[in-house]
């Protein structure tokens, strides 16, 4: 709408709900009204011309008859608008004409006195008051009810204030205006793409970086297809014979939106499969889980996350079948009772090679763990995570499982270091993975036991210990007969003192010496290192480790490095890390306040830079890339 057409802002009294609603959608009822007026006037002029041609005298009569409804509605109630033209054509008697003229005069006078007229007069600056008054008189005539032929389809219809003009200036009936709306909407929608502006794009970019989905260039065609498929999973009836790797990808994508339910589950159950992975089973019922065993008789590996309804009856059913699971991964199956766990292990435990249980509170405890050494003779992988029930007695029982290769514990109960030492002395020699998450009381004796017994470790995790010291770590890594580690996670092994956080007189946690020893021992093989929150590693240690490329200190394998909240890390250290780890993909530096302005090489990701600018990539020019790659 043009600016001139808009009414000047004014204070108004109470309005109707419709006017308020329209105003809130930026539609002015007044504007609609004006438009209708203009249209009516145009129609009137045209009609007048015609009438002039036909019969000069009819004109006045018709005008009067049209004017009358506004002034005296009671009178015109009987003479409907449809009869108007006929009446006009019938050339009313002179007396009637006279009467009509009088009426009009009266009406005009009345309008002239009205406030609306005064306002309008100011707005339009019309000289001829009579003309204006007459225009107003006409405009207040009831348009609704007037009949007109639709411009596009030719049908006769009733004009309303909302009738729209067609392309040639005529009026359109409501079905035709809807068509017009549809066309316009299609045109309007297309150019409007959600870019979110510069800030939105940057925000999206940062979000992608944190999600780990950041990458240069387009997504792979497969990703695009899978995303489209996940969006329209309702339409899919069968995934056909896609390779299982792709089906797995689709399953992961679906779980992200919690789309897996009884119906979509069938898409992933292939009778010939040996493996079923359910990444989000929150919407599945016990019957759905039973259906898995019914449809996939050759099942060997089962993974269920958020399997809330994986209950006793499901295990009961499983025990009646011939299915011998080798790999069982249960996440959140809190309704399985202790008795059923034991029963299952006694019946089917002999086939189990891998048992991973996450998020249980009451029923998976010491008694169940105590059964493992006898019932599961071929168990190589055991993971008990977020468990509130297991205590030291259960952990001690793990020491009896001589076949174990991978051990991962994340318990809520405190377990004394002596128990870990005992377990390590029994099975440490064969362990490839040792993961002890949140072990506050683990001390140097555990580290020494690892040093003494472990010879095949590739992955080591000891987190949040407040007892281990720098000297302990240095002893562990110096002269250790174990080959280089691949994954190391020592996050939050540090001294905690809220009063004097900077002081660490006893060198508690991973500090400079331990870090140097770690990198000297495993630097060549390390792929993933996490020293998050080990804030007593001095800048000198970082520089020793990362900034001596000339001495051959290059870490080819390193792909992911997490040094967040290591306070000493500077721009120089970060730059050195990028130089000394050529295959690094991601570096996390949250809370490293001394990192200010680092240029990130192309294809690498720096997460958590403490400024609003985010990551600055070096070498955006195309010419540079060619040299670099």
């Amino acid at each position: 709408m043009s600016r001139q057409g808009r009414q000047p802002r004014r204070i108004v009294g109470p309005q109707s709900a419709l006017t308020d609603f329209l105003a809130s959608h930026n539609i002015s009822a007044y504007q609609i009204h004006l438009n209708a007026d203009a249209r009516r006037r145009a129609a009137r002029d045209e009609q007048d011309e015609q009438a002039d041609e036909n019969n000069q005298s009819n004109d006045q009569a018709s005008e009067a008859s049209e004017a009358s409804p506004a002034t005296t509605p009671a009178v015109t109630a009987s003479t409907g608008p449809t009869t108007r033209r006929r009446r006009a054509a019938a050339a009313a008697a002179p007396a009637q004409e006279e009467e009509a003229r009088k009426k009009e005069k009266k009406a005009i006078d009345k309008i002239k006195a009205s406030k609306k007229f005064q306002k309008r007069k100011r707005g339009l600056e019309s000289e001829d008051e009579d003309d204006l008054a007459r225009a107003l008189l006409q405009s207040s005539a009831p348009l609704p009810g007037q009949q007109e032929n639709c411009e596009s389809c030719g049908k006769r219809f009733t004009v309303t204030a909302y009738s729209r003009n067609g392309p040639n200036g005529g009026l359109l009936c409501s079905p035709c205006s809807k068509e017009l709306d549809k066309d316009n909407a299609a045109q309007k929608k297309k150019p409007k793409r959600a870019t979110g502006g510069a800030v939105g794009r940057r925000r999206q970019l940062q979000s992608n970086i944190l999600d780990g989905t950041y990458s240069l260039g387009a997504k792979s065609l497969m990703t695009l297809c899978i995303e489209t498929l996940a969006k329209n999973i309702d339409l899919a009836e069968d995934l056909g014979d896609l390779p299982s790797s792709i089906i797995d990808k689709i399953a992961r994508k679906l779980s992200k939106h919690r789309l897996l339910d009884s119906r979509t589950l069938s898409l992933f159950l292939q009778p010939t499969a040996e493996e079923v992975r359910i990444y989000d089973g929150a919407k599945l019922s016990s019957d759905d889980f039973i259906r898995i065993f019914q449809t996939v008789p050759g099942l060997k590996k089962l993974k269920v996350r958020n399997g809330i309804h994986f209950k006793d009856q499901v295990l009961d059913f499983l025990m009646t079948r011939n299915i011998e699971l080798e790999d069982l991964y249960l996440h959140g199956a809190n309704l399985l009772s202790k008795g059923k766990w034991k029963e299952y292990l006694q019946k089917k435990g002999h086939a189990l090679r891998s048992l991973r249980v996450y998020f249980t509170d009451l029923h998976f405890g010491d008694e169940v763990l105590a059964l493992l050494p006898t019932t599961c003779p071929s168990l190589t992988r055991l993971k008990v995570s977020h468990n509130q029930e297991v205590t030291g007695a259960g952990v001690a029982a793990i020491g009896q499982i001589s076949t174990l290769r991978h051990l991962s514990l994340d318990l809520r109960n405190e377990v004394h270091s002596d128990i870990y030492v005992d377990v390590l002395s029994k099975i440490g020699a064969g362990l490839e993975t040792l993961s002890l998450t949140r072990v506050r009381e683990a001390d140097n004796t555990v580290l020494d036991a690892i040093h003494t017994h472990c010879r095949a470790l590739a992955k080591l995790r000891i987190t949040e210990s407040e007892e281990v010291t720098d000297a302990g770590f240095a002893r562990l890594f110096r002269g250790w007969a174990n080959p280089g580690l691949v994954v190391v996670d020592l996050q939050k092994c540090r001294h905690l003192d809220s009063a004097r956080p900077r002081d660490n007189p006893d060198a508690v946690g991973l500090c400079s010496d331990g870090f140097r020893a770690l990198m000297a021992h495993s630097g060549k093989t390390l792929r993933d290192l996490n020293v998050h929150g080990c804030r007593h590693i001095a800048v000198g240690a970082f520089e020793d480790v990362f900034s001596n490329q000339a001495d051959g200190k290059v870490y080819e394998a390193m792909a992911k490095l997490e040094i967040s909240f290591c306070e000493e890390v500077t721009d120089f250290v970060v730059g050195s890390v990028f130089r000394s780890c050529p295959n690094l993909r991601e570096l996390n530096v949250f809370g490293c306040m001394k990192v200010r302005d680092v240029k990130v090489p192309r294809g690498k990701i720096l997460v958590g830079v403490p400024n609003a600018k985010g990551m600055v990539i070096e070498g955006m020019d195309d010419s540079d890339d060619d040299e670099e790659v």
Binding site: L216, L224, C225
Partner: protein, 105 residues
């Protein structure tokens, strides 16, 4: 023989698509076909009897979409028509357009 800048992909129903060689090389499958001992490498013409023109066109579409965007950040997603999603997924698997394509190696 020096390699032409373009190669020709032929669909099962006989349609031919002339594609920028550099763009088509995003597919390890095609890259493998264009390695020297094979006929495809000499003629610069790859035939895919498995796919009809509609699917192959979309794949070719993707090649160029990828080529155009390989150095850009925050690339808008390519439209995938829902009805050809599964077939295209098969094609993506065939052409190995799986993991993150490595830009230029």
């Amino acid at each position: 023989m020096s390699d032409s800048k373009y190669i020709t992909l032929v669909s099962g129903d006989g349609f031919e698509f002339v594609v920028l060689r550099e763009a088509a090389l995003v597919s390890p499958t095609i890259k493998g076909m264009l390695r020297s001992p094979f006929v495809e490498a000499q003629t610069g013409r790859c035939t895919f009897p498995e796919f009809n023109a509609i699917i192959l066109e979309k794949v070719v579409d993707y090649f160029h979409y990828w080529h155009r965007n390989q150095d850009k950040e925050d690339v808008p997603d390519m439209e995938i028509p829902v009805e050809m999603c599964l077939e295209l997924l098969m094609a993506a698997n065939y052409f190995n357009l799986d993991a993150k394509p490595t830009p230029r190696d």
